[in-house]
Symmetry: C2
Subunit: 223 residues, 2 copies
DNA sequence: GGGCCGCAAAAAATCGATAATATTTGTAAC
DNA sequence: GTTACAAATATTATCGATTTTTTGCGGCCC
C-alpha cells in the first residue's frame, strides 16, 4: 500500500508504534502467515508485538479499511475471510479500475514516468523469483509504475488496495506453485514495450490478459 | 457510508463510544460544520464528545480511511482539505465507477430491487427540500438503491465512499443555494423510469448527465 | 431429555495518567 | 533588527488499569 509511510524508508526509531504494528500485521496477513478467519486477540498481539493495546487497536482499525481485517460487533477483530467469489470480484474490479487508471496515466505520462517504469521493470527482472516476497514487492512497483502518471490519487489508492487484496490470494494459493508453462517475463517485457511506445490499446489488452491469465491459473487453487 | 452499523438503527445505548464518535464526526465533516483543514485536537474532541482519548483516536483513524481526515506525521489529525481539482476528480471517478456498478446491478436486478428503488424514490420525493440533511439522506438512499443489485460489495463500498466525498462539496458550496432553474425532481423521475424499464443505456446516460449537471453547477461555487 | 436462566471466566472497550514529541515563546548574540 | 538557540508550553502517542460486554458452563425448570 505504501500508505502510512513510503515503504518504511524512515528509520525504525522514528516510526510510531501504530505504524510498525500496522505494517507488520499487514505483511503477515497478505503473505498468509496469519490465515483468513483467524481471530486477532488484542492481548495476544500486544504481547507478541511488544506494545500496548492502543497501537494494536488503531492498526487493526486501519486494516479494517483495507478490507484485510473484519470488525465483529464488539467481539474484536479477525482476519478477513476469503472466497473464490471474492477472488473473482477482485480480479474483475481490478481489471476495470486499472484500465481507467492506465488510460489516464498514458494520457499524462512524461519522460520521468517512462524512466521510472523502465527501472522498475529492470529491478523486477533482477530479483530471484525464488525470493517470493522480494519479487512481489518489485512486481507491485512495476505495475503501479505503469499507472503512476494517472491524475486521480483516489483511483490509484483503490488500485493499490485491490492489488494487495489480490496478492493475498496469490500467496494463499501456495508459495511453491510455479506458474506452469507461462513465460511471465515475456509478458512483462511485452507490457513494458507497449507502455514505452505509448500504445494504449495494446498495453491495455496485454495487461488485462496478463491479469486474467494469472487469475484463471489461481482460481483453481483457491478454496 | 452505513458502514459501522446500518444507519444507527441500534439503540444508542448499545453503540460503542467509537462508533458514536465516528458517526458524529463524520456527519460534522460532511455537512461542513467542521471546515476543511481544521485541526482536530484530541483533547478538545474528547471533551466535547464526552469520552476518552482512545475512542477519539480510533474514530479519527477510521475517518482517515474514508479520506475525510488526514493524518499529519506525528502531529495529529486535521479535516481533509478540499480543492476544485479534487472535486472534479471525485465527480469523474464517481461517474466511471457508478456506471460499472449500474450495469452490473441492472444485470442482476429482481423484483425486490425494483420495489426497494420505487420506495426510496417515494420517500425522497416526500421530504421537504428545505430540510437539507433529511433530503440528502433519502437522496443517497435512492442513488444507492439503483446500484444495490450489483454483485461486487467492494465496488459498492467505493461508490458509497465517493458519494460521501462528493456530498461534502455540496454542503460546502452553500446550503442556501437553490439549484437554479433545474427541475431535479423531473430528473429523478426520469432516472427511476429508465431503471424500472431496465433500459440500461438510457439509465446510464440520464444518471451521468444528472451528476455532471450538478457538478458543473457546483464547480463554480467552490474555492 | 431438552431448553432456559444465571454465574464465572475471558476478552474487548474505555479511561486516566505518563512519556515522547512538536511548537511556540523568549532571550541573547550578531 | 534579525537570527539562532533554548526553555516553556501545548499536544500527541502510548501505556497500565478499570469497566463493560460477551461467551462458555453448569444447574434448574419444564
Amino acid at each position: 500500500m505504501l500508505r502510512m509511510d513510503e515503504i518504511s524508508n524512515a528509520p525504525a526509531s522514528t516510526q510510531s508504534s501504530t505504524q510498525r504494528v500496522y505494517l507488520t500485521l499487514r505483511e503477515d496477513i497478505i503473505t498468509g502467515r496469519i490465515p483468513p478467519g483467524q481471530r486477532l486477540k488484542i492481548d495476544a498481539l500486544k504481547a507478541s508485538l511488544d506494545t500496548g493495546a492502543s497501537p494494536v487497536r488503531e492498526a487493526l482499525s486501519l486494516l479494517t479499511s483495507d478490507q484485510l481485517v473484519e470488525r465483529l460487533d464488539q467481539r474484536g477483530f479477525r482476519v478477513a475471510k476469503t472466497s473464490r467469489a471474492q477472488f473473482q470480484e477482485i480480479l474483475n474490479l481490478r481489471c476495470n479500475l486499472e484500465e481507467l487508471a492506465l488510460r489516464d496515466s498514458l494520457a499524462h505520462c512524461d519522460r520521468a514516468w517512462e524512466d521510472a517504469l523502465v527501472l522498475a521493470h529492470h529491478h523486477m527482472a533482477q530479483v530471484d523469483q525464488g525470493n517470493l516476497e522480494g519479487f512481489e514487492a518489485q512486481h507491485k512497483r512495476f505495475h503501479m509504475a505503469i499507472l503512476a502518471a494517472c491524475q486521480s490519487p483516489i483511483l490509484l489508492r483503490f488500485c493499490d488496495q485491490l492489488y494487495d487484496l489480490n496478492v493475498r490470494y496469490r500467496y494463499l494459493a501456495g508459495k511453491s506453485k510455479s506458474y506452469g508453462r507461462r513465460d511471465v517475463k515475456a509478458e512483462h517485457r511485452a507490457i513494458l514495450e507497449a507502455a514505452v511506445k505509448r500504445e494504449v490499446d495494446q498495453l491495455s489488452t496485454r495487461l488485462m490478459a496478463h491479469y486474467r491469465k494469472t487469475g484463471a491459473f489461481l482460481a483453481d487453487l483457491i478454496d
